[in-house]
Symmetry: C2
Amino acid sequence: MPYVMVQIPNTPAPTSPSAPRSVPTSADVARLAGVSRATVSYVLNDTGAVRISEPTRRRVHRAAEELGYVPHAAARSLRAGHSRMVLMPAPPVPAGPLHSQFVHDFQGALSRLDYTVVQYGNCGLHGDEAARAWAELRPVAVLVPGPGLGPRGVAVLKRSGARAVVTFGTEPVDGAHALLTDHAGVGRGAARHLYARGRRRIGVVVPEEPGLETFSAPRLDGARWRDLGLDGVFAYNDEYAMLLMSALQDEGVRVPEDAAVIGADDLMLARLLRPRLSTVRITLPSGRGLAELVDRAVRNPGATPESHELFDATVVQRDST
Amino acid sequence: MPYVMVQIPNTPAPTSPSAPRSVPTSADVARLAGVSRATVSYVLNDTGAVRISEPTRRRVHRAAEELGYVPHAAARSLRAGHSRMVLMPAPPVPAGPLHSQFVHDFQGALSRLDYTVVQYGNCGLHGDEAARAWAELRPVAVLVPGPGLGPRGVAVLKRSGARAVVTFGTEPVDGAHALLTDHAGVGRGAARHLYARGRRRIGVVVPEEPGLETFSAPRLDGARWRDLGLDGVFAYNDEYAMLLMSALQDEGVRVPEDAAVIGADDLMLARLLRPRLSTVRITLPSGRGLAELVDRAVRNPGATPESHELFDATVVQRDST
DNA sequence: TTGAAAGCGATACCAG
DNA sequence: CTGGTATCGCTTTCAA
């Protein structure tokens, strides 16, 4: 075991060993309040169309409180025929800080629009199989990061009631809205920058781990200049750039005199290294903007899918180039 | 707008403008296959107890395929009376790399145990209110990061059918399993280390308020360093430590000669700075270990809650102390 | 103002 | 082997 688990002497279980009564339903509330289930529903949902007397309301509320009643979301949305769940499959690799921040903002923005955002960790499912697993949850919208979803997957999702499917990656998918991250442009920008600084033999550092190729390959394409030797390097991201820079320094290679290094993502920490790291800053969309896109798509599912470039990759020059 | 959205000329919508037929149900499959809904269920779930003739099976499968039928998870779990969803409320702040990695592992491990892990982004809900929102989903288990869940919240969750509630934080909550991260122990370890290295005037850097101040504060500390008269600092985490160290160096304060600095979390990047940062390494539980804890709790919900120390905080000495 | 009842979709029991 | 049918919890007409 890679970690230590030490049992802590625990006080006896504070929960009384009462009979494990089943979870209370609206029928239980109705019984306790002496009304019908319909009345319970009216009161708890504060239906405007029906007026319930104040004493009855109070009785219902007290009964619900006493039983600790919590409505059953599945039953409700089954009856309603729709939900307001936005499904977001987790990316296949642990997310970086940029993605984490983005997801966080996005969740907040959608919550404010009264959606429920759910990140779904589906391990090992691929393509259409994954799409079916997502479709079982009947989300009103699905936001898929990375590749792996084809037109058939999109069709499955739409046929199962998803009113908006948004892909988040390098190229659009038929039938789905697309948020395009122009990674090739990132590499291009980095290469241009290095070239402009007089570098002619430019190398590229990309991750080897499986799962990341999808992101690294485009950048490679963008930066694949005529790599002959090494007087300039574009790294997949700032972490790799920092690793490389550290390795170079340990070898006595001077940065940027002997080798210019530029990364990507503009990590805060990259500004602390000496020399401070040049980088390509990628601005992800604000959560609010994307949330509005999703909301628009949900309200108007018939519209032709939009494709948007999330293109704000700017070179930030510091001391390493 | 902080980012640029450029509409890309899109090919006309490839989806034929057919009538938006509603989502197919098992009844539709049954109709198309010329059998009853019961038979459809038997075939698609491959129920062992009932034998269906091979021709019928084929007809059902073909019908389901043709319609693009996907079962309705909500209806299924409503009928079944339980689900295998493990709910994991998203932490209130964007997660760090440690947490991201941990969640990823955990999701994978639970998936392998046939659970569905769902990260739930509930913005703005607090305490019992949040607990109720989670309870509406009727998860079989809930893993709550950080504080904010009290005994009443735990009770709500359990009464609504959660067979395991696990809190993940600094202190246990009545009725819930607890995974304790002994942050006090981390600080103790760091302090001991600094003391053993001969430091006597030891300061601590902790985040004050979320926002930009969190980054400016260490710099401020760096600027007024000489007034403080410290000779050793323990920072809340490696990021703060790196910020502080950078600020100190800019002020001409030598590390570790004039000031020893130690951080926490053992970020990979902390090894790249010069001088390389000493740190307190915190080993989070492997996803597998925690998944097994959850599984055990779900299978045996009556057991008294376990409290586990996730205590593998070890000082890693590098060059900054 | 309140209650009875019809479903939403899927499953499992019991007849045929 | 296959088909009715009751049921899960909830909402919402329609009647009273």
